[in-house]
């Protein structure tokens, strides 16, 4: 809590404007109810999950396995649905890490 008088005016820095390349909406992962978990032992590195993710939340690591960015992933479940070997499991997310 802060007294009104003590809030600092930040001038131009207090304007909701930024370079278009950096502009992002923040941690949308907090909206998630179900969380995709990849079990790598069955993964065949086909990259279908990476291709279908509507939020670019999946990247491929140097060993070729998909990795999920849980700060962005909203838990839509598309990756789990398109996985040909059904190795992406949707588990209820309790957001314990937040």
């Amino acid at each position: 809590m802060i007294e009104e008088d003590k809030i600092k005016y930040k001038g131009k820095k207090g304007i909701p404007a930024m370079d278009a390349n950096e502009a992002k909406i923040g941690k949308t992962g907090t909206w998630r109810i179900f969380k995709p978990v990849i079990h790598e032992e069955k993964c065949i590195k086909c990259r279908r999950c990476w291709l279908f993710c509507p939020d670019n939340a999946i990247t491929i690591d140097k060993n070729g396995y998909p990795k999920i960015n849980y700060e962005i992933c909203k838990g839509c479940g598309i990756c789990s649905n398109v996985c040909p070997v059904k190795t992406i499991e949707m588990v209820r997310d309790l957001h314990e890490e937040d």
């Binding site: 001038g11 909701p16 390349n21």
Partner: protein, 380 residues
């Protein structure tokens, strides 16, 4: 200095020309039409060379104003009544993106029942939109306030849009002598516009980004701080304007309040009639004064407290109505004066342009002089 006879709409058009405004998106509505007619005529005659955009409705007008200001171009627009309400949604975008647009509102009562005449419900509906809201008492002030508003709005300490109100018909269609300031002097007072953000395809920027939770609250607090900063800026700019053009402005106007026991608190053009009432009562040795609020947002709370610290009776004149409570300015003045022992009463007058004259205010004085308790009155 030479004076020209003109109405409020034309005074605003002159201000647009003097401020070197480059874009005016517009949609006509009585009683603001003459502003558009004047600018359209000038555009055809080559007397003003900005972009004059005819759009399909006020929602688009405000959207175009946001877009052009975001491209770094000085923008102006004008509307009234239902038109201003139709802009309402985008007005929050303009202030949230901190774009210093200036707009004129020729106030007119809201429908239904439909009227063309003035009251302040349209402009006061914009209370929380984050815009600076100015009231003017005559056509000269319309011209002067628009010039000042650009300087205030574009200041880094403020960066918020401004809404300038004049009374529909009473100012917008009534001709008065107005002094048009020298163009070069205005250019010196109001330098070229330096935008904080420019939308340019070569250097892509994102304005009005998503901000969830805490970030949202942070930006809103910055907007509020900017409004508070404007109080100081309005006073500074008003003083500077006075030095250059000879007409000084403050955030409030005190008229014979120094030793006054009874003070009227007003906004807008009816203040000039109240001044007549004050003079009349002063001749009868009554200690009466007037406090005119020049801005409604930011609300000059401390200035009101100081100006009214010794008053015994305060009559707040509300040319508006919030159904279910009463006047809109009344609760704000009363809350600013919390702890003050003065009697504060509310008078709802002149809705939909109902005639208010010297008699109205003398009646208010007589009624309230006898009162022992705060009351709410309607001058039906």
């Amino acid at each position: 200095m030479k004076k020209t006879v003109m109405d409020g709409n034309m005074a605003a058009a002159h201000a647009v020309k003097l401020c070197d405004v480059k874009v005016v998106p517009n949609f006509p509505i009585t009683p603001q039409t003459e502003f558009i007619e004047t600018l359209a005529k000038w555009k055809v005659n080559g007397m003003w060379n900005g972009e004059f955009l005819d759009l399909e409705g006020e929602h688009s007008v405000m959207s175009a104003a946001v877009a052009s200001e975001a491209c770094g171009v000085r923008t102006f627009t004008a509307s009234s009544s239902q038109g201003t309400l139709y802009m309402h949604e985008i007005m929050y975008v303009a202030s949230g993106m901190r774009l210093p647009i200036v707009m004129l509102n020729a106030s007119r009562g809201l429908s239904a029942p439909i009227t063309l005449w003035t009251d302040h419900n349209d402009i006061l509906a914009m209370r929380d939109a984050g815009w600076l809201i100015f009231f003017t008492q005559n056509n000269q002030e319309v011209l002067d306030t628009i010039i000042q508003a650009y300087k205030i709005s574009e200041d880094e300490q403020v960066l918020l849009p401004s809404l300038i109100n004049m009374e529909g018909f009473i100012q917008s269609y009534t001709r008065e002598p107005v002094e048009i300031p020298d163009y070069k002097k205005v250019r010196r007072f109001l330098p070229k516009y330096k935008p904080h953000t420019v939308l340019d395809p070569k250097n892509p920027m994102c304005l009005g980004i998503g901000a969830m939770g805490k970030d949202y609250m942070e930006f809103r607090s910055q907007e509020h701080k900017a409004q508070l900063n404007a109080i100081k800026k309005i006073k500074e700019v008003g003083k500077e304007f006075g030095k250059i053009f000879g007409r000084k402005y403050n955030i409030i106007e005190k008229y014979r309040t120094d030793d006054a026991d009874f003070v009227f608190v007003t906004t807008g053009a009816m203040s000039t009639t109240v001044k007549e009432a004050v003079n009349y009562l002063r001749e009868k040795n009554k200690k009466v004064g007037l406090l005119r609020l020049r801005t409604y947002r930011p609300f000059p709370e401390k200035d009101i407290q100081k100006a009214l610290e010794n008053s015994k009776k305060i009559a707040v004149i509300d040319n508006n109505i919030a159904p279910g409570f009463g006047g809109i300015i009344y609760p704000e003045v009363r809350s600013a004066l919390y702890g003050n022992k003065a009697l504060i009463s509310d008078f709802i007058v002149g809705l939909g342009g109902t005639r208010t004259g010297l008699k109205t205010f003398l009646e208010i004085y007589q009624k309230m002089s006898k009162d022992k308790k705060s009351k709410k009155y309607w001058l039906l």
